[in-house]
Symmetry: C2
Subunit: 173 residues, 2 copies
């Protein structure tokens, strides 16, 4: 991968979070891979147009598949979120050919609508979420193929502790 | 993508879960992408060898990056898991060129070591986890590039309900 690739993927990744922060639904729809992007990928052929179905997992949610289901979820999230900000850390980008794999920690500060009239905002909640985002290179830039975000349930920041106590059944601490 | 591609990816995906079920650590190490696999990818060149770093998120865990950290986590999980079985449902496979994206629900039944001598097994725990697994095509078959698994925290099986109640901050129900 080139430095330019990594920069471009980093920009695409940040554009995704900024669109969610601003509640920019229309913009978000352009960031996700669409069937018409398939033919523009350098190594794709028209037969592969059907293979670009996107998937998305919000923290604690089941898998959503396809643009319709995925984009509808963002409309609902935006309707129920008055304020959300992502502070990204531990961003790691790996690019192989026309696919990019991004992992990052989403340090989230969010608040819902005010519970009663007159209040400006619901209570702010801080959360540590980790994400794996997969991007595909298209003629129109890097597009999101998959987003999987999940809550970090460990109580300790000491990774070696977490690993010692963790197990596959989801009880890390 | 061809039907053969989908079949091969499905086989690679199941081989991963079966290796974890059997506690087959050595086999597991061969299923994850390694630096030497990079040059065998059809569309890769030697400069990309450094880009194949794998990543892994176990349910509730932070991101683990690189073969060393990832494989060590499985050794620890296997040491702390007496019994684990995955019943995969909702398997969805999307293949574009040399990358495959798999999403599935891991219906897990697991048990730890017996709490006291004489018991055969710790209590069995059932769990619903969703996973996004990314595979790369290599000369030696499809290898795991990324595994991200997370607990489904929603109480309802009705997806439309979950979506109505869910929000990005991880409180779906």
């Amino acid at each position: 991968m080139t430095e330019a690739d990594v920069q471009a993927v980093d920009t695409a990744n940040r554009a995704y979070y900024e669109a969610v922060e601003r509640g920019a639904f229309e913009e978000l729809t352009t960031l996700w891979l669409a069937p018409e992007d398939a033919e523009y990928a350098e190594d794709a052929d028209p037969d592969e147009a059907e293979d670009t179905s996107v998937s998305c997992v919000h923290p604690g949610w089941p898998v959503l598949t396809g643009r319709g289901e995925v984009l509808r979820s963002y409309a609902l999230i935006m309707a129920n979120t008055e304020y959300i900000q992502f502070f990204l850390t531990d961003v790691h980008i790996s690019v192989v050919a026309d696919t990019a794999l991004v992992t990052c920690t989403e340090n989230i500060l969010s608040g819902g609508p005010a519970p009663k009239e007159g209040d400006e905002l619901g209570p702010l909640v801080g959360q540590r979420v980790v994400a794996t985002n997969v991007f595909r290179r298209t003629r129109d830039g890097w597009k999101i193929w998959s987003h999987h975000a999940s809550p970090v349930l460990a109580e300790s920041d000491d990774e070696s502790d977490e690993m010692g106590n963790g197990d596959e059944d989801g009880s890390p601490a």
